[in-house]
């Protein structure tokens, strides 16, 4: 049995009223320990709701979520315990900072876990180091940090619980290219340090393709695709039809294919596209 297993999940909002909206229907997938999974879907595809089910924040109407072979919604204790084992970092997490100092804010999760004072301090240091917050910032008020530093402090707050599964919802939203890279690097650092499973939720296929082993594509409350990066990108035209943001080179490849050129639409990085296009030109010049 897989480490994290989601079976036939269904969920609707405002259940039992005329305003009922089906958010998810019959979703199943599983994630192995240590996997890096990208979760893609546009706004309203149900991905945020699905992520909140993985740490028992939202209980599915039907179906089960199993962590390490145990139903996470079995009882209150298991559900609460799951919150610490599956760390969920919300979008714009800096808007949830509240403590007097950065140190105390990062320590909030570990404190709720009822760890010893030494253990908490050690975890604060470790996670501050992973996200690249210098020690002198730890005693500052989180509200005095810059925008980028706030985001890092907030993510450190989730990492300090040392979750075995780390879920991040658009962790780089609103950041510039450097800021985006910094965030991706620290996720990688956490992964290497702990061997944790990572689920990265994003709108951007490009971001996900660069880091993930596998991609889950959500569409209209169901799982539309589940496969390796190459498998998913080989269906690029479908991704575009779903209104997802695929890399520019992928769109170009799909359009060249539509124009009748023998192009493989499964490209998602500039170097890939360059070598493919050069091959095409070479072939043409070879025959000419």
């Amino acid at each position: 049995m897989a480490f994290l297993e989601v079976k036939n999940i269904g969920y609707s909002y405002s259940k039992g009223t005329p305003f009922e909206i089906v958010a998810l229907h019959d979703c199943s997938f599983s994630v192995e320990k240590g996997e890096y999974v990208g979760v893609i879907g546009h706004t309203g595809s149900g991905k945020s709701t699905l992520m909140q089910m993985l740490n028992a924040l939202v209980k599915p109407d039907s179906g089960t979520v199993m962590l390490d072979g145990k139903d996470i919604n079995a009882d209150k204790e298991t559900a609460r315990d799951t919150r610490f084992r599956v760390g969920l970092c919300f979008q714009y997490p800096e808007y949830q900072l509240f403590e007097e100092t950065v140190r105390k804010d990062i320590a909030y999760g570990p404190t709720n876990m009822k760890l010893s004072a030494e253990e908490i301090e050690q975890r604060v240091q470790e996670s501050a180091q992973i996200v690249g917050l210098p020690p002198e910032l730890l005693d500052k008020s989180p509200f005095d940090l810059s925008g980028g530093e706030k985001r890092r402090a907030a993510i450190a707050g989730v990492m300090a619980m040392k979750p075995e599964v780390l879920i991040l919802d658009e962790p780089a939203a609103g950041l510039d290219p450097i800021g985006r890279k910094v965030i991706m690097d620290m996720i990688e650092k956490y992964r290497l340090a702990t061997g944790a499973t990572v689920l990265l939720v994003s709108h951007s296929m490009e971001t996900v393709a660069a880091v993930a082993d596998r991609i889950l594509v959500l569409n209209k409350g169901g799982i539309a695709m589940d496969g390796t990066v190459d498998e998913v990108f080989s269906r690029s035209d479908e991704l575009i039809a779903m209104g997802l943001d695929v890399p520019a080179v992928t769109r170009i490849a799909v359009r060249l294919k539509e124009k009748g050129l023998p192009v493989d639409p499964c490209v998602y990085s500039v170097p890939q596209a360059v070598s493919m296009l050069l091959k095409l030109i070479g072939k043409k010049e070879g025959t000419a």
Binding site: T43, L175, I178, G179, V249, I252, R255, P271, L277
Partner: protein
């Protein structure tokens, strides 16, 4: 005489502008000079904290320069009697769609600006409807603002500025908080306003793809303008851009790498142009 005319053609002019948020704090802008012509589509690029957003608030006298001057249609923003005229001429759309919508209903929000300008009641309705049609939100005029998507909210915010009939719209990272669909909606709306309604646009962003179709691109770093030219000129500076924390759009990188490998397609910045040029290359 001749000089006066050229000055007037400049809708927005920054002259040696320095801005400090606190009296003895750091300079957010350091002696910046540039001007925007009527009808131009100018994109300002820069990473977070480069000073690019300060430019937006200086352009319609919400902030006043610590040193130097800002002119809107030749009016100095520092003169108090010009304040309202400046704001009427240059409208600003901000980043967070939730925090710039005043009213609960779409059309009431769009009416907010012209109501403040004391536009006669008989003309208000026409202005609101026209502005909403311009951004493609007319069908939503009676909807509640908080139920709209991010892209729709941002288009309502643009309509709210349009209803004041400005000559120039400054957009301060209007797409930063939106999903790809919302970003496309806003970009297409702004492009159309510039092309069809001849509204001057100053578009501030850190998304490089959004700069590709501009008339002119300025790159801001550390409170200074370090690059100013056509998109093709600016995106040739791959190393400099990366040094200041910006990326080059994928299409520009693709053409640059192909050129290095002996396949020159010319200056190409958009996907359409690339597909076209490549097919021409394959056929010819």
């Amino acid at each position: 005489m001749l000089e006066e005319i050229t000055v007037e053609e400049k809708l927005l002019r920054f002259e040696n502008v320095t801005y400090r948020y606190e009296e003895d704090g750091e300079e957010a802008l350091k002696g910046v000079s540039f001007s925007v012509q009527k009808g131009e589509f100018v994109v300002i690029l820069g990473h977070n904290g480069s000073g690019k957003s300060t430019i937006a608030k200086l352009s319609n006298s919400i902030y006043l320069p610590t040193e130097g001057n800002v002119y809107v249609n030749g009016m100095n923003t520092q003169d108090e009697e010009n304040e309202m005229q400046c704001r009427k001429t240059v409208g600003v759309v901000f980043q967070n769609p939730d925090n710039q919508i005043v009213a609960s209903i779409v059309e009431e929000d769009v009416a907010f600006g012209p109501e403040n300008l004391c536009v006669e009641q008989s003309q208000l309705r026409a202005r609101v409807d026209e502005a909403l049609k311009s951004v493609g939100m007319y069908e939503y005029r009676m909807h509640e603002t908080h139920k709209l998507s991010g892209g729709q909210k941002q288009r309502v915010a643009i309509a709210g500025i349009l209803a004041m009939r400005p000559q120039c719209i400054v957009l301060d990272e209007p797409t930063a908080m939106l999903d790809p669909k919302g970003r496309r909606e806003v970009m297409n709306t702004v492009r159309r306003l510039n092309k069809d309604e001849n509204i001057t646009v100053l578009f501030i962003t850190h998304f490089m793809e959004e700069a590709a179709t501009a008339d002119r691109v300025m790159v801001v770093d550390d409170g200074k303008i370090i690059l100013d030219g056509t998109p093709a000129e600016v995106f040739k500076e791959v190393e400099l851009l990366q040094k200041v924390g910006l990326d080059v759009p994928e299409v520009a990188r693709l053409t640059a790498m192909l050129r290095k490998n002996g396949c020159d397609l010319g200056d190409i910045l958009t996907e359409d142009a690339f597909v076209e040029a490549f097919i021409r290359k394959m056929e010819g």
